[in-house]
């Protein structure tokens, strides 16, 4: 669990508070703990803060450094943090170096009360103990309010998608522009049929925990439905066992829907190896030996993208590629006939289905783009005005927007 953000905001807030309080209480605290001869001043104003928005698993202890802890001098070496709970034995839970003024105790339990003391440790071995704090119980919170803007973003972006899915379902016609790579699928499958050569479908080399792989399998559903109609040979080598299982299920479904259950064969989908270039070695070999007429390269690709695309190109296949990995797109653009760039890969299944609800979701995506553009332009305008006029108001707008859109 990363306690960092809350910790920092509280720590800084705490520091401001401490600074103001220090001025008032410095004298009184000096009087309260009388440093005997040879001993060293203890830290003062020990504060225990419960971290905001966590699972009740940590407390932050902060203090005002000992008066003897002067930067550049080495009289004080460290601070020791002691803790007791429920009247039990007091134990040291940590030590920090001189100059530090906070410690995060991550070994606390919810529902227990803790009392802390902090001791200054001097170079000569002397120690100065602070007064114990009040008992503090770490608190668990069910909602992380630090993430409220992320939550709203999910709500707005998701909401607009759902809204347009609903709109489309009610029968409103929505325009969707043509996506060239997808228009070409028919032609590509037809070509393989005419030539009597197989179609090769490569769903990337990542596993099912990658959305690109899921999107690719969804497209596979539509593509294999058409292939079933044409009665063309389909081969799909995969690099992950789970993708093999899911791929078989997908193709089988398509063949069933086409009424061609007899033509389905499990060996259409074959597991090769998880290793990136072991997979490439085998697929390259397949391309050279079987000379597929059509190759689909849709999914998550890495360095192997060019090897596969260039090999496919050299055996004269018509190639339709798509990936959301920017570094790989140029190779597809260069060596393939059609390339789906980034977002188009995810839109493809909706586009191919032609189903109104699916097309509606594309309209929902556009709303997201509109929001992104609007926010960027507002942010840029405010930043520019702030820079030009030195206006504090516009600088505030920028930093507010920055905060809203920064999530850790």
């Amino acid at each position: 669990m990363p306690p960092a953000p809350g910790a920092r905001s509280i720590a800084s807030g705490g520091r401001v508070l401490i600074l103001t309080l220090t001025l008032i209480t410095l004298t009184s605290s000096l009087l309260a703990t009388d440093p005997g001869p040879g001993s060293i001043a203890p830290p003062t104003l020990i504060m225990v803060n419960d971290l905001d928005y966590d699972n009740g698993e940590s407390l932050t202890i902060s203090w005002v450094p000992s008066l003897d802890d002067v930067p550049g001098q080495s009289e004080v070496v460290a601070y020791r943090i002691l803790r007791s709970s429920g009247g039990g034995q007091e134990a040291t839970i940590g030590t920090v170096l001189a100059g530090e003024s906070t410690f995060v105790d991550q070994s606390v339990n919810r529902d227990s009360a803790y009392v802390y003391r902090v001791a200054t440790i001097a170079a000569n071995g002397g120690e100065g103990y602070s007064l114990p704090t009040d008992a503090v119980v770490p608190n668990r919170e069910w909602l992380n309010w630090d993430l409220v803007w992320l939550f709203l973003a999910c709500l707005v972006l998701g909401g607009s998608v759902v809204f347009f899915i609903e709109t489309a379902r009610r029968g409103k016609k929505l325009f969707v522009r043509k996506i060239a790579g997808l228009e070409a699928i028919d032609e590509a499958i037809g070509r393989a049929t005419e030539m009597g050569r197989p179609i090769l479908y490569i769903p990337g080399i990542q596993d099912m925990d990658e959305v690109e792989t899921l999107a690719s399998l969804t497209i596979l559903g539509k593509v294999s439905r058409q292939i079933a109609d044409y009665d063309t040979q389909l081969f799909m080598p995969v690099a992950r066992s789970l993708v093999m299982t899911a791929g078989r299920e997908t193709i089988k479904t398509s063949y069933l829907e086409a009424g061609r259950a007899d033509a389905f064969n499990e060996d259409m989908v074959r597991y090769i190896t998880d290793e990136q270039f072991g997979y490439v070695a085998a697929v390259d070999g397949y391309m050279v030996r079987e000379r597929p007429a059509t190759i689909f390269l849709l999914g998550a690709f890495f360095g192997e993208s060019l090897v596969l695309a260039e090999m496919g190109n050299s055996v004269g296949a018509i190639q339709i590629a798509g990936t959301a990995r920017p570094p790989q797109i140029p190779f597809f653009v260069a060596a393939c006939d059609y390339t789906l760039i980034g977002e188009e890969l995810f839109a493809a299944s909706a586009y191919l289905s032609g189903e109104p609800r699916q097309l509606g979701s594309l309209k929902g995506q556009d709303v997201g783009k509109g929001i992104a553009m609007a926010v960027i332009l507002i942010g840029v305008a405010a930043a520019t005005i702030a820079e030009l006029t030195g206006s504090g108001f516009f600088a505030g707008v920028v930093s507010t927007l920055q905060n809203v859109f920064t999530t850790r």
């Binding site: 925990d209 299982t245 190896t273 309209k363 995506q365 992104a372 960027i376 942010g379 859109f405």
Partner: protein
Amino acid sequence: MRRSTLIGGSLVVVFFLAAWLIKGAGASGESPYYSAFLITLAAFLTLAVFSFLYADNPVYKFAEHLFVGVSAAYWMVLGFWQTLVPNLIPRISRALSEQLELEYIDELWNVLYVIPVVLGILLLLRLSRKLGWLSRYAVAFIVGTTAGLNFIAYTRSNFMAQISSTFLPLVGDWTSWAAFVDNLSLSATGPLALLMANIVVVLGVVCGLIYFFFSREHSGTFGMASRLGIWILMITFGASFGYTVMGRISLLVGRMTFLLRDWLGIIAS
């Protein structure tokens, strides 16, 4: 098998056997012939893969098939020892954890770790004709987690974070118009260059997004912006391409260095 294949194959075998023995005789260390064997094997496999550039051939097929078998098993072994064992054993059995020197984790959440085991077993039922349909539940679970995790992850790091880093002021480092005009030069560190850089970033992001719009015809002003967007994307792709060339050639240099230095000893280290 054709005769030419047989003769060619024997020649290759004899050549690398000789290479091994020569290397072994010249090597020092504990087991010179074993380490010489390993180096020669690696060199043979390297050259076997390169031979594919000329044409598909039995030597490449050998390397390809060996690599497929070896690497499939390699990842399975790692999956077992580095994923299954450390993630599952410490939550299932204290005794077994101690035996394997793993730290036992004692918490309520251990109960949840039944889920992947059950789903894993459901997945294996695919081998049975009758119960095969149960594997769907495993797939359904995986699809659900992938969709859920990525929904949040992409909103957070791709959408919000990318937007917030684009709030750039469209002015350079300057104090007044006069100063700005005075400093106007085509120096790479000058105010004009900085201003241009920011303008290009902002305009590029906005036009790039316009290119991806699905629900509007790309015509008129909108079409022009979309055109500009695709140009920006093309520069991005060009840049990626240029940089990749450098990286890939370095890889080839690495392999060549292996052959020339570690195996043949032609070049000094």
